[in-house]
Assembly symmetry: C2
Homo-oligomer: 348 residues x 2
């Protein structure tokens, strides 16, 4: 379960586990919120006593939602709380936006230990601080034992779009380079390693991270030279590249040798019979960049958080529209399709 956050010791609750009363909207819900959620996440905008928060917004704003159902809830390198914050912060970043405000909604299963809920809450707090986003409104529901799975979290985010950002599928064009910001498949394999009881020489940790500061620094410097940003979470790199090929009506070529991946992740994929191109990522993004700026973007990205191992992995081509073609390390070529079934349910 990791170590308890020392800055936020758990107050004394007169209950050890979540029960249905905590979702009643009545006294127990109020107790849980006052001592728990609001105690941890305190900020001036988190309106503890109304149905919503009041914000001042101007200009183009990104709006994005994600529900998180990851299993197990605690995994090497993180837990569902920080995943839920980072996930939505990153979705906003992919729109070229700086996350400003988050909503936070819990669906708790009766019987969830308060210690676990507390650890998740403090992770939400830490992740939100790191990303510079405020949790301003929320909701808590409780379902009976066996009708949920410990905890599901929805976060929905709002963020101002950077004035220099001009990111859209329509800007993707032949010659653009495709940058991958870091080693792929780490998150999926970290989760799988717990589920399957795999042991590695070192503990493989999820790459969950907030990418917003990195992204916004790139946009600040390179502005419209960045044509598209995507985070290859569920479905992995292969699925996102296929979506680009389909929606931008272009061909995509990638070079296996160039794709960054940790050695132990590659080994685990072989062991488990998984293609890393389809395995979920959390702290990785793809940037489709104007050809003549690709080198400069790469150099800059390598100096930023989470970008040290970035690579140019391929390019947008006119040939084979709507297809992603992989050049393998041994010189072969193969078409890479979108993820067809489901390899790793509940990875995020």
């Amino acid at each position: 379960m990791g170590t308890m956050n020392l800055q936020c010791p758990m107050p004394k609750f007169d209950f050890e586990v979540i029960n249905l009363g905590h979702g009643s909207g009545g006294l127990l819900t109020n107790k849980l919120l006052e001592a728990g959620v609001f105690g941890v996440l305190k900020n001036p905008l988190l309106d503890t006593h109304h149905d919503g928060a009041v914000l001042q917004l101007t200009g183009p704003t990104a709006f994005s939602t994600d529900s998180f159902v990851v299993s197990p809830v605690f995994f090497p390198g993180g837990n569902i709380g920080e995943l839920a914050v980072n996930g939505t912060v990153n979705d906003l970043a992919m729109c070229g936006a700086a996350a400003q405000y988050l909503s936070l909604a819990f669906i708790l299963e009766e019987g969830l230990p308060m210690t676990e809920f507390w650890e998740i809450l403090t992770s939400v707090k830490t992740a939100a601080e790191r990303a510079g986003v405020q949790v301003v409104t929320g909701d808590t529901k409780v379902v009976e034992r066996g009708k949920g799975d410990k905890i599901f979290i929805n976060t929905t985010g709002i963020g101002a779009i950077h004035p220099k950002a001009d990111i859209s599928m329509s800007r993707v064009k032949t010659g653009d380079r495709i940058i991958v910001s870091g080693p792929i498949a780490t998150h999926g394999i970290a989760i799988m390693s717990v589920r399957e009881g795999l042991e590695f020489e070192t503990t493989l940790q999820s790459d969950t991270a907030n990418l917003n500061h990195t992204i916004l620094q790139l946009i600040d410097v390179f502005g419209p030279a960045i044509h598209l940003l995507r985070d290859p979470t569920r479905g992995g790199l292969a699925t996102v590249l296929n979506e680009i090929a389909r929606d931008a009506r272009c061909g995509v070529e990638i070079h296996q040798r160039q794709i960054p991946m940790l050695e132990e992740v590659g080994g685990a994929c072989e062991l488990l019979g998984l293609d890393p191109l389809y395995v979920a990522n959390e702290g990785v993004f793809i940037a489709v960049v104007e050809e003549q700026f690709a080198g400069a973007v790469l150099d800059r990205l390598r100096k930023l958080d989470f970008g040290a191992e970035a690579q140019i992995v391929g390019e947008i081509v006119e040939a084979h529209p709507r297809q992603v073609v992989l050049h393998s390390e041994i010189g072969g070529r193969r078409v890479v399709n979108m993820l067809a079934g489901e390899q790793l349910p509940r990875i995020c």
Copy 2:
């Protein structure tokens, strides 16, 4: 399951139930979204191919989230789809805001029949149209059989606050009148009647409704004379009044005789041993109104949608701060506390 929405016949899917692949982020997720969700909810802003929507917002904006876990998913008078839209639209309305944009996130249980999912989706569409709100971004996750319960929905909403609105707990003051917009406890009893297999002479229907148009018309006319708005959902009227007494540090007095309630709801409450003051509402709101305008607000409200049976049920008093006192029909007085346990789990 009610009748199928004729305006949105279900397309032919090559699967009859939801499976884990629909949450993979890959091909099956894309199929479900393209033919299903985007097909039904189509609008110019619903960006089918990015991680978030881009909005233009200005001025004070309300932001509110709710997850819906109601059981059963289909109930007399509605289903979880319209409940999820109306619930967040109403939370925004209680902030004095006109709902503009919604996010929509599903947690589906493996095995959910597509016909049911389709009916819920079309209800989302209808409810959104009625409320004048656009669903602009979303998410779909799938959990294994037995790790969820058919379908949970999160909606998060954004809406511009009416320029004449001045709604906050700090505006509640001695002498203010408390208006209840319609018969209480209907939603909770409609749900309970299905769960308990109760039969009424007429079918009791949930009062789920979008209150935004009604509220905004009142604000348009009466502006700052409306001090506070709340919707007494979970925890019922008693809990919301207690929150007001606590947070505004005032006393609340209500008169049982004045509280609107359907006769059959009263009967069912007696039969089930439930106090209607604690039973959940969906299409009802409470307005705390400046004394000298209360009569005029009531008259106007009675002419608006969902307000025909509105009543002034009580007032804010200086006596007994933080307490809600009920004057009973037979002349007694009793303190009404916040809901202590949980009478009706998963009512919304």
